[in-house]
């Protein structure tokens, strides 16, 4: 065959001595074209080369340029590190200030020293570290003893102070007594002179029982917070190792924390509170809700200002009917009560008809519903418990207000009527916001909530970063606009600040940074322009242009193959 035969001048010419295919063919081969000029071979090859050069140098870059999606550079490794929890070593220093007016400076100093020593020695929880300092107020100031000066003494403590331990002398008690202030972060410890005396006799290597007692009290204060944080770390899959986990997070407490977590809202910087009055009749058509809220709810909301802000709106909805999916109240003739079955509570809110749409703007809406049954349906209670209020997890609270039947004017609910109602709502609000139930001091609970929110925000922003990193690696076709890269940089920057803020004990600042980091991370992950590009694969692009590329590519490639063959044959012959 022709391919086996060496070719004369390199072209389509079967050789003379090639074996003819058959007789007819052999008879037909009469002439062969003259050998081609080297110049024309060179011309042809340069033509083919220039075509290819245009395709490679111009066409291909153009194609790549016009069909690539823009991918901004992301610090993928750093993002993954954040997600793995390698960058931020969580550490929460607890600044405790000891205020010991009337105690000699040496004793007070030693007390502070032993407190820090004993606590950190007994502490299983690696994240909490106690730092005890002495109040820099003059120690022997008699004016501080007067009860009126309590508040001013607090002002002396720096804003980073978590807890103030205030020593107060008491004569009668033989054992040291302590009491948490219900509003301020102050632990009052009552001591008798003999408690302090112990220290004078004892040497530094023996333990001081008085100090031990106070450490025990402080541990009680932070026990719930430790459990909350431990729960948080476990649930977020964070690599933080916690020894003695079972002691901190025993099953009963774990269950309680899990229940709290399912009930409470996800953290948001702004919550919208909506108070609605629903009634199946035309009355009451007015309520003094503004006055009642200002009086009974406002102080609570003010205490939350470092964590979240609140907007309030109220409305009255008349002629509100139950949804058809529930059985409705049943009349219990014995107790002369209308009763709601427990199974009906979940369907009590008639979502289709009651206008409880979420508020506009960032942040979730918490609904509080006051239901005043009509005159015929009064009194209405829950069948099993006889209660009148319940909580709907991550949504809000409901309360039934049974008005006296013979009360003459039903058209208006006064502030006095609403007092108890608002108290119940306030209670429901604290549990919807995830406020811990202990310790007894409200200020401590708030600051504990600040810390746990900060850590949970850092964890969630980090894991969002990790998801984004994995997503961009998995989908090479996805476009990454510059805004995403900016958001990621912002997130990392704020995460670092939050982490440092935690370490420095500046919890409010840390929360602010963590909040921004979370918002930026969400913004980066849910960038709308990234989503549209997901399903635009390379195959699609090729398929659209195949009618053009196919017919153009075939002659180009064939020409090259032919030339290469000819060139090879020529070389073999020459060699």
């Amino acid at each position: 065959m022709a391919s086996d035969a060496p070719q004369a001048t390199g072209d389509f010419l079967p050789s003379e001595d090639g074996e003819p295919v058959n007789a007819v063919e052999a008879a037909k081969v009469v002439q062969s074209p003259p050998p081609e000029q080297p110049k024309s071979i060179w011309t042809r090859r340069s033509i083919i080369f220039s075509f290819w050069a245009i395709v490679v140098c111009f066409g291909l870059p153009l194609w790549i340029r016009t069909t690539t999606v823009y991918r901004a550079d992301l610090p993928l490794r750093l993002m993954q590190q954040w997600a793995d929890g390698l960058t931020c070593q969580f550490e929460v220093p607890l600044h405790v200030v000891v205020e010991a007016p009337g105690v000699s400076p040496t004793v007070a100093e030693r007390l502070a020293q032993t407190l820090e020593e004993y606590y950190n020695e007994q502490n299983f929880f690696p994240i909490h570290r106690l730092r005890v300092t002495l109040s820099d107020l003059p120690q022997y100031d008699d004016s501080l003893q007067s009860p009126g000066s309590d508040r001013t003494s607090l002002a002396g403590a720096s804003s980073n102070t978590v807890l103030t331990v205030r020593l107060k002398p008491s004569e009668s008690e033989s054992t040291a007594l302590s009491r948490l202030d219900p509003y301020e972060a102050v632990l009052d410890v009552y001591y008798s002179p003999q408690h302090l005396e112990t220290t004078r006799t004892a040497e530094s290597h023996t333990r001081w029982p008085f100090s031990d007692t106070i450490v025990g009290e402080i541990q009680k204060v932070f026990a719930e917070e430790q459990a909350t944080l431990a729960h948080l770390f476990i649930n977020s899959g964070s690599p933080v190792k916690i020894d003695h986990l079972d002691e901190i997070l025993y099953p009963q407490r774990k269950e309680k924390l899990a229940r709290r977590a399912t009930r409470s809202f996800k953290y948001a910087p702004v919550y919208h509170l909506t108070f609605s009055l629903f009634t199946p009749a035309a009355t009451p058509s007015a309520w003094e809700i503004k006055a009642a809220l200002d009086e009974y709810l406002e102080p609570l909301l003010r205490s939350f200002t470092t964590i979240s802000n609140f907007t309030i709106d109220t409305q009255i909805q008349l002629f509100a009917s139950f949804s058809p999916s529930i059985h409705g109240p049943l009349y219990n003739a014995e107790s002369r009560l209308w009763t709601l079955q427990k199974t009906d509570l979940s369907g009590f809110i008639n979502a289709a008809e009651w206008p409880l749409s979420p508020s506009i703007g960032e942040g979730p809406t918490i609904n509080f519903i006051l239901y005043v049954p009509g005159e015929r349906g009064t009194p209405l209670v829950i069948a099993e418990t006889g209660g009148t209020s319940w909580l709907i997890p991550q949504w809000g609270g409901v309360q039934i207000l049974n008005l006296e039947r013979d009360s003459g004017d039903r058209s208006m609910l006064t502030e006095a009527d609403l007092k108890q109602v608002v108290f119940t709502f306030a209670d429901q609000l604290t549990s919807l916001l995830g406020l811990p139930t202990s310790p007894a001091s409200h200020a401590l609970r708030i600051s504990s909530l600040t810390r746990s929110h900060t850590i949970s925000l850092i964890l969630s922003a980090s894991s969002t970063l990790g998801s984004l990193a994995r997503l961009t690696q998995k989908l090479p076709q996805i476009s990454i606009p510059d805004t995403v890269a900016e958001s990621v940089d912002m997130t990392i920057h704020h995460l670092e600040s939050a982490c440092n803020g935690l370490k420095a004990g500046e919890f409010n600042r840390a929360l602010e940074h963590a909040r921004t980091a979370e918002a930026e991370a969400e913004k980066a992950f849910f960038e709308p322009s990234m989503v549209g590009q997901v399903y635009f694969p390379d195959e699609h692009k090729v398929a659209v242009y195949l009618p053009l590329l196919g017919p153009v590519a075939v002659p180009l490639i064939m020409a090259v193959i032919k030339e290469v063959r000819a060139w090879r044959a020529a070389r073999r012959k020459g060699g």
């Binding site: 081969v29 009255i316 002629f319 053009l548 017919p551």
Partner: protein, 616 residues
């Protein structure tokens, strides 16, 4: 007109109030009934601003607060008001909108601008609230009218900081899903009082219907003194065909009545039993609320605010008999033909009905004439050019100053140099007193055209201009592109006599300064519509042509030219020829065998053919 006086009713009341009112008036000489529902509620402005909404709908209030909307007017309309038969429009046309959805509002633009963004927030919020496509009102459908609308509420000195924006969606089909959220905004939610009559089946079966929501602040002591209130007025106006509405509910499908039930004119001569000349109706039709709306009025919606306003008014001649069940007639003492009723307070949950039997009246009621007749049409033919032609006819013996407002989509490009406003009879140009024109920008904003001129007494003015139709981009066509594109109705405002634009704007009182409104019907604009498979065809075709051209040029450049005899035979061709030859041989042999069997002589020639072809 008596109806117009209804507009000023709620302005007198203050603070936390709610009134509702239904006005019924049969339209003279037709079998149509106009039912005008009005629900007005006010709330003190400070309470509203601090979020204590009481009866003001919270969902709407939040949108308004979020977007800093100071005054809102929202309209849903469907159908055509028949000027010639039905007379002037209810509420002087101030509570009606153009076909589809129309919205205009005054937004606070003082603190740092961003009005466009707030407007977009407003329409998007309302879109969700009313289940309408209001979110499609983007910058191309938004205009800033100057003359045609003026604020109805009291706005302090901030009027300068307020911006008026206007948007229309003529394509929107108004239906039940818009009425349901509308009713939810009412304190009684359509469960008690006159709103219990509002049922989607009836409202949207009407010949003409319009729903409106108007929110405005009112300060009775002027903008500075007195306690301000925020008023929300919701109205539903429907023109019902009495006969059609009263047909049995059990048989909702319209089908021809059996011949026995038809009322035929016995005075005519009939050739067969299957023909019928309809009998001319005599006197007034009998009707009742419960038969027209399918239900009587249920209970009342008096919110214990001490008002004793009538709930229902009925405008029929005095000698018409009215049977009232469970309602208390009020004597207003002002109208000869107006009767007022208040729904009973005790016991609650009663049903109230009004029934008017069929009756022949001695004197026919004369329907008053509308302030102006207006028609607007698209002229011209072809895909590229067209013209707009509007006729405004003044039936009254006095001249009327009007403003004419058009907001045109950007793909309709008017040639303003061709704009002619002429008197139809004298063919003289009418002097334009004012003109505001904002040219369109492709894909950014539409045309805004506002004219102010006077229509002479008993005269007619023609307005015309030419326009060019733009070619849209492939993706800009809607799914039903061949239907055409809706052009929003023109809004004609008849200024109150002896005032000009500034006078109207400065006068705050609703009754005085607003004048009355008329809207033309919306138009359908056919645009050049491409074949939507075109891009793929173009890709394939151009690719093929380019590939062909490239292939031949490339071959010309790289092929070597030799004599035909010198062309070497390629291996492939040789092999194919060999295969074909073998195949022919086999076929020939088979044929030969057959021929032998049949005893034919064609054997030789068959064989010869096979060989010859194989060699060739």
């Amino acid at each position: 007109m008596l109806l117009s006086s209804l507009l000023t009713l709620p302005a007198a009341v203050l603070a936390q109030t709610y009134t509702e009112h239904l006005h019924l008036s049969p339209l003279a000489q037709t079998s149509h009934l106009l039912a005008a529902f009005n629900f007005t509620s006010t709330t003190p402005l400070p309470a509203y601003e601090s979020g204590h909404f009481t009866h003001f709908p919270r969902s709407l209030a939040q949108i308004l607060q979020h977007t800093k909307t100071r005054e809102l007017h929202l309209r849903f309309a469907w159908g055509r008001w028949d000027d010639e038969q039905w007379g002037p429009r209810p509420r002087m046309g101030r509570r009606e909108g153009g076909t589809g959805v129309e919205i205009w509002a005054w937004l606070d633009g003082q603190d740092g601008g961003g009005v466009e963004e707030r407007w977009s927030g407003l329409v998007n919020g309302l879109s969700g609230l009313f289940c309408a496509s209001l979110n499609f009102i983007d910058s191309t459908r938004t205009t800033h009218p100057v003359l045609s609308f003026s604020p109805e509420g009291t706005h302090a000195d901030e009027v300068r900081g307020l911006e008026s924006l206007h948007g229309t969606l003529p394509h929107e089909v108004v239906c039940t899903e818009n009425l349901t959220p509308f009713l939810k905004l009412l304190p009684c939610k359509g469960k008690a009082g006159i709103s219990s009559l509002l049922d989607g089946h009836k409202v949207f079966d009407a010949n003409w219907q319009t729903m409106s929501i108007d929110v405005r602040p009112i300060c009775p002591g002027g903008s500075t003194g007195g306690e301000c209130v925020l008023e929300i007025q919701q109205t539903v106006d429907v023109v019902l065909d009495v006969e059609r509405s009263m047909r049995a509910r059990g048989d909702p499908i319209p089908r021809p009545r059996p011949i026995e039930e038809l009322e035929c004119d016995g005075g005519k001569v009939y050739n067969g039993g299957d023909t019928c000349y309809p009998k001319v109706k005599e006197g007034e039709m009998g009707w009742s609320l419960s038969r027209i709306f399918g239900t009587p009025v249920r209970g009342n919606c008096h919110l214990a605010d001490g008002h004793a306003d009538p709930d229902i008014t009925l405008e029929v001649p005095l000698d018409r008999i009215v049977n009232v069940t469970n309602a208390q007639p009020l004597d207003l003492g002002n109208g000869q033909s107006m009767r007022s009723y208040r729904l009973p307070d005790h016991p609650p949950g009663q049903y109230t009905d009004l029934a008017l039997p069929q009756q022949s009246l001695n004197q026919a009621v004369v329907q008053p004439q509308p302030p102006l007749y207006a028609t607007r049409t698209i002229t011209g033919s072809g895909q590229q050019h067209g013209g707009m032609h509007a006729r405004l006819h003044n039936p009254h013996p006095y001249a009327q100053t009007i403003t004419y407002f058009e907001s045109l989509p950007w793909f309709l490009r008017p040639y303003i140099h061709t704009l002619r406003v002429r008197n139809s009879e004298t063919h003289e140009d009418v002097k334009l007193e004012k003109m505001f024109y904002t040219p369109a920008k492709d894909r950014e904003r539409g045309t805004h055209l506002e004219l102010m001129f006077t229509v002479p007494a008993k005269g007619e003015v023609e307005l015309s201009y030419d326009f060019e139709k733009a070619v849209l981009r492939y993706t800009e066509y809607p799914p039903d592109a061949n239907r055409g594109f809706d052009v929003a109705p023109a809004v004609i405002r008849i200024l109150p006599n002896n005032t000009n634009g500034e006078g109207a704007a400065s006068s705050q009182h609703l009754g005085e300064g607003q004048g009355s409104y008329i809207r033309t019907t919306s138009l359908l604009l056919p645009l050049p519509t491409p074949d939507f498979s075109m891009p793929y065809n173009v890709i394939i075709l151009t690719s093929t042509v380019i590939a062909l051209g490239f292939g031949s040029i490339f071959n010309l450049l790289t092929r070597r030219f030799v004599l035909a005899e010198e062309v070497p035979v390629s291996k492939l061709a040789l092999r194919i020829k060999a295969i074909v030859g073998v195949a022919r041989g086999v076929v020939g042999r088979l044929k030969g065998a057959k021929a032998v069997e049949m005893g034919g002589d064609a054997v030789g020639s068959g064989k010869g053919d096979g060989v010859g072809n194989g060699a060739g």
